[in-house]
Amino acid sequence: MEFRQHKLDNGLEIIAECNPQAYSTALGFFVKAGSRDETDQLNGVSHFLEHMVFKGTPTRSAADVNRELDEIGSMSNAFTTEEQTAYYAAFLPEYQSQAVALLSDILRPSLREEDFAMEKKVILEEIAKYDDQPPYGAHDRCMVAHFQSHPLGRIVLGSTQSVSALTRQQMLDYFRSRYSPSNIVVALTGRVDFPRLVEQLDRCCGAWEPFEAPRQILPAADHQGLEVYYKESSVQQYIVQIANGPAVEDDHRYAARVLGTVLGDDSGSRMFWELLDTGLAESAALGSYEFQGTGLFMTYLSCAPEDTQANLDTVRRIIEQAERDGVTDEELRQAKSKILSHLVLQSERPANRLFSVGNNWLQHRVYRTVRQTMDRYQQITRDDVHAILQRYPLTHTTTVTVGPQTEVSGIAARPLPAA
């Protein structure tokens, strides 16, 4: 396993974790452009643009792009988050240059008007799909309620209204403000021909014009509150809770993940024994998520509507007890064993490993081997975990619930607004 890196003159960074023994190659273009970089008016444009990137370039139609992605037998896709848009493909090593040529070309899309109008319909269907799917927007609403006017309070998909109102020109302007080569990392894992890769990317992307594409990193306030939404047709009640947590630059995030595993993993955790093993909830999980400048702990619960209050009380009691007494040696050992084993299993596939390698570089220009990451988790102590709870009060939460309950904790339910 060898790590290699190169930077083109226009700022485009190329990194690769090369494994000559691998059966496949994974390639990703990671762009620092997500919903936090939008304005309220443009909400949803990052994700819509992700779809439009597959709609072709001056030399390729949308059908050409789809056809060529399939011709190289690739497993390819893309996703958009609050902080990034990633385009990726996994393929057999002999297709490296075709995959690089194709992905680097589509990253300069034509954004044709007729494709824009057609794809808008697909995005609206995607929004409608999530509208029908648990937790019925509870996650998005909780992000909005927790972050309020902070840029992370903008939801990735946007709303039916904001997406309907978007114009092609607005998308083009957004593209020209975010897709600077200096704002993009090209990452590869698996079997990689690095010299050939650099030479090819220089040829394909070397002419991309660089420009400043700054991102505002604002501190997030510590909001608390409860919003209750009524959805008659839902059978279960869905609950999302958010509390502040360590940011991506913060070394505490390792201990935060261990804490999340002890308290809220889907098996063997304190929430598991109290809520899942007993059948009191259908799902109950707590995990940590990091962004630039801030992070969060998110709790997710689904249960019979009438058990909502009791289950919320149980979650609170579990957290208060941990804040008071910390975690045990046995719990620490168990959580580490799970995390380390998960890291090993994940890293066996270049297509999985790609995202750790690409994200780490995009977010803070750090490369870590799987072993280095494992060592970091090994070093976590009970005190480290307890310190997280002192630093981030997990009982200071923003809570959003959706379901057939007409009232939760004395707050009357309001109708669920359209997506």
Binding site: S24, D70, E71, G73, K120, E126, D132, Q236, D277, V344
Partner: protein, 419 residues
């Protein structure tokens, strides 16, 4: 594909052990299929197999339920369990040196579970939660309806059963189901990853050799004649499921049928993606897949689309299915072959993916196809062979399941003609 060896041994009690050593991995994975699926549920106890599947994981051998989960987590085993129609399956992936210990635990799960009566009500609640949460999963409900209409009882049952059946079940039912169905004859244990065959064989003999075979009777098959069902729900989208008869995995023509469905649905240049999503913007999610029982198969298609465009979506879907009988093109087949080949090679990066494929092959074929054999079959596929199959078996006699605000109209003659 290098040096693939697949080992097989059938023990005197009927248990089949399969192993595929993958020396380049750090992990190992297993799949244990016990012939105790929901096909064995008594008609008035639908959901019993699922309840027993939950109970057997609440302590076994010398371990109580807490020790059971703690020990697996300390081994770094990422485990799962599921109930399907034919089998109750247990599986796990882990660092290879944990495998034998994990297998020992599962040997106890299937041979000497504690079935603790004091946990029966908790287990019943867990199963009830599963039934309730399925009610909120509209695409899954469409598939279950489709399955029911295609296969009748018991093959079309949903594994979580019915609320009434789970409510009626007693601790005695759990005992008698376990003792009546959990058995080595018909069970398959498959292992893939960094393992040594001679040691594995000896250990499995020691752990499972004394398991006593027995006879078990499943529910008497009752076919259904229903071909069209609409369930009215308040939803943003209409969820459409279409099914039609195909050949099972063991049939000599299976890969002809699979090839045709691949042209319909594999990849972004496939026909359904192109016609429904790209050219008309009718849906975000649209796909078709082959589904196989041991003696019969189906093709099942899904699209989720907003109510006002649902009829158009159904019409376009049916038109594409019917058009398939006119044949596929060389370029479509070439792309499909590239995709399937990549997928086969990439299976070698995942012990869990191989362990499940190996077990499924044995269940359907009574042997395991090697990668070389699969590549040979793939190379042998031609447009002529697939088109000949399609001419003889044109998609017809469609089964339609819809969920949404309004029922859809089936174009006259579509559901019964075209044979």
């Amino acid at each position: 594909m290098e040096n693939q060896s697949i080992h097989h041994h059938t023990f005197d009690n009927g248990l089949v052990l399969l192993a595929e050593p993958m020396s380049w991995l750090e992990s190992a994975a297993f799949a244990l299929l016990v012939p105790a699926g929901c096909n064995y549920d008594p008609g008035e106890r639908l959901g019993l197999a699922n309840l027993v599947g939950e109970m057997v994981q609440r302590g076994c051998g010398s371990r109580d339920s807490r020790q059971f989960i703690n020990d697996l987590e300390l081994l770094g085993a990422d485990t799962s369990a599921s109930v399907a129609n034919a089998h109750t399956s247990f599986g796990g992936a882990m660092p290879a040196d944990s495998l034998i210990e994990a297998l020992q635990i599962y040997a106890d799960v299937v041979q000497c579970p504690l079935l603790p009566e004091d946990q029966f009500e908790d287990a019943r609640l867990v199963c009830t939660q599963e039934i309730r949460s399925l009610e909120d999963d509209l695409p899954q409900r469409v598939f279950h309806q489709l399955r029911q209409m295609r296969y009748g009882d018991p093959y079309g049952r949903k594994s979580c059963g019915e609320f009434a059946g789970v409510q009626a079940a007693t601790a005695d039912d759990v005992q008698s189901f376990f003792h009546g169905t959990y058995r080595p004859n018909g069970a398959i244990l498959s292992v893939a990853g960094n393992v040594q065959w001679p040691e594995l064989l000896a250990q499995v003999e020691r752990m499972f050799g004394d398991w006593q075979p027995r006879q078990a009777a499943m529910a008497v098959p009752t076919p259904t004649s229903e071909t069209c069902r609409h369930v009215s729900v308040e939803s943003s989208q209409t969820h459409i499921g279409i099914g039609y008869a195909s050949v099972p995995y063991s049939h000599p023509d299976y890969f002809q049928a699979r090839g045709a469905v691949g042209v319909l649905s594999d990849g972004m240049s496939s026909r359904l993606f192109t016609e429904v999503r790209e050219n008309r913007g009718l849906a975000y999610a649209v796909f078709a897949s082959c589904h196989s029982l041991r003696d019969r198969g189906s093709v099942m298609c899904y699209a989720g689309t907003s109510t006002e465009r649902a009829q158009e979506t159904l019409d376009v879907l049916l038109a594409e299915l019917i058009k398939l009988a006119d044949g596929i093109r060389e370029d479509e087949l070439a792309r499909l072959k590239a995709k399937i080949k990549s997928g086969l090679v990439m299976q070698q990066e995942s012990s869990s993916s191989r362990s499940t494929s190996v077990a499924a092959d044995w269940y359907h074929l009574g042997r395991v196809r090697t990668m070389d054999e699969l590549v040979g079959i793939l190379d042998g596929l031609s447009c002529e062979s697939i088109n000949r199959y399609l001419a003889e078996h044109p998609p017809s006699d469609f089964t339609l399941a819809t969920l949404g605000v309004k029922p859809l109209e089936i174009p006259f003659g579509i559901s019964s003609a075209q044979t």
